[in-house]
Amino acid sequence: MTNEQIHLDDIHWLMEILQNIDVGLVVLDQQYNIQLWNAFMESHSGISPQKARGQNLFQLFPDIPQDWLQRKTEPVFQLRTRAFSLWEQRPYLFHFKNYRPITGRAPFMYQNISMIPLESVDRQVEHICLIIYDVTDVALSRNSQP
């Protein structure tokens, strides 16, 4: 009973961290339906986790190039290796507006993205996680160099 209590506390903290961490977390299944959508994603997209959950990513965000993402994530599902998307090659996957009206000089958020395989209990990879890093500051300082 006590153990279970500790276990629930752990989950509570983890959820709190998930909601406060300053990176975007999106869990997708093999059909690209959204299974997890953290507060970072909610804040920047204006779409609540309740609304996002279960929705198809490509229907919710028609701007995302479907063939590109499918090709990119194929080795993550099939071969369990990470895949990456960098702002230098592709400035963003999710078109989020720059949220700093005074000091923000970028028209949108530049993003680096890691795509990692998630193993289920039976060691199958049926889900992947997209980790979205806001690298707008890096991109702006690099671009402003002569």
Binding site: P65, D67, R71, E74, P75, Q78, L79, F84
Partner: protein, 205 residues
Amino acid sequence: MTPTAAVTLNEAQRDCYQEIANVAMGQAADRLARLLDVYVELPIPRVNLIEASDLHMALQEARNDEGLSAVCQGFIGSGIAGEALLIFNDTSVQDLAALLNYQGQRSPWTTEELLLDVSSLLTGACINGIGDQLGIHFNQGLPEIIGRGRNAAEILQSGPYPWHKTLAIEIHYSVEHMNIDCTLLLLFTEDSVPKLNKKIDFLLD
């Protein structure tokens, strides 16, 4: 004892590293083969301790051609860190693009993305393979392109390095009947080598 003095490698350890690298690169080659549907040739990996000043030479020995592209990617797990350097010649890049048929996609892929993808795949598979055998979960960092159409000396111009001597594992991949070959160089940080040696000694006992 200075940290440099701790970086040693005996014959048994070297053989063990070679065996581990061999298994890991086999797994990586298998993944590449499945993705590209080709047969990937693998020679025996080379395991050496190298001095920072010799890094140029090691790389030049591995790749003496001119137009080279390189991708680096850091990895860390259980306090053991290192960097993977994947070096392609530019003809390989063109052939890889043709093999993967990336041009046929609706959303355009750049050659840079192709380099990054192949690099993530090979580096990730190889590092995971080594980690699995040693019981280390390696975290793989974001890749970075450090050179396009350069020679080995230009790619490594960022020296001097904050280390003297370290462990290098060199793996060469080539694809049968095609112009594709690349070199994967795994370089561990100096302070990782004693920790790695300890894990190796544990396997050898």
